[in-house]
Symmetry: C2
């Protein structure tokens, strides 16, 4: 790989980090709206199913913040013969916030796609 293209890769990587901000919170709430998940399951699940890589150092502080804000709640239960797991579910408040987020996301994504549509090279 040339020096130029590796610098470009780094820039894209830095950009993707910023791109996640806010999106992750949305994605977590969206995932929990379908069924309860425990933390580690969110990490592996999002990586595999949605191709969104979420490191543990990101997910646990985020889950903690969402709990403090009353958007989700947790229950500690014994796992499948392994270490105990903390299962998270949406609260009523979390559902309401998610419902408000969806049109915001759709509007923004549509705007970006509109600009993308005009991109001809």
């Amino acid at each position: 790989m040339t020096r130029q293209s590796s610098e470009l890769c780094e820039q894209v990587a830095r950009w993707e980090v910023q791109l996640r901000k806010g999106i992750l919170e949305f994605v977590i709430l969206l995932t929990l709206s379908r069924r309860e998940h425990y933390g580690f399951e969110l990490v592996t699940g999002l990586t595999e199913r949605a191709a969104i890589d979420v490191p543990e150092g990101t997910i646990y502080p985020l889950l903690l913040r969402l709990s403090k804000d009353g958007l989700i709640q947790s229950e500690l239960r014994d796992g499948d013969g392994g270490a105990p797991r903390k299962y998270y579910t949406l609260t009523h408040k979390g559902s309401a916030l998610l419902a408000a987020m969806i049109p915001s996301w759709q509007k923004l994504a549509a705007s970006v796609d509109g600009l993308l549509g005009g991109h001809r090279n």
Copy 2:
């Protein structure tokens, strides 16, 4: 408006701020790839055409950073009888980065929309 819904509005607003991170850089490069723009024109243009509200306190530091990174370049010219304008255009490096960003955005947006598609309530 009730106290609850105004708190929800504030939370959505805070979230939208985070959602912009990264997206704005992408949107600016995308906009400049079509034709040159001056700073204030980006503010008004994105608000009107793309419904993306970009305050001046956001756009000017961002344009400065993109210039420092060699992604865009500027030329100061007299405006339409008003104050002088700084016109920005993409550099070759900026075009290359934009080209690398597009598939990243499309992949992420597709992942989120995939999760959204499974959302039934």
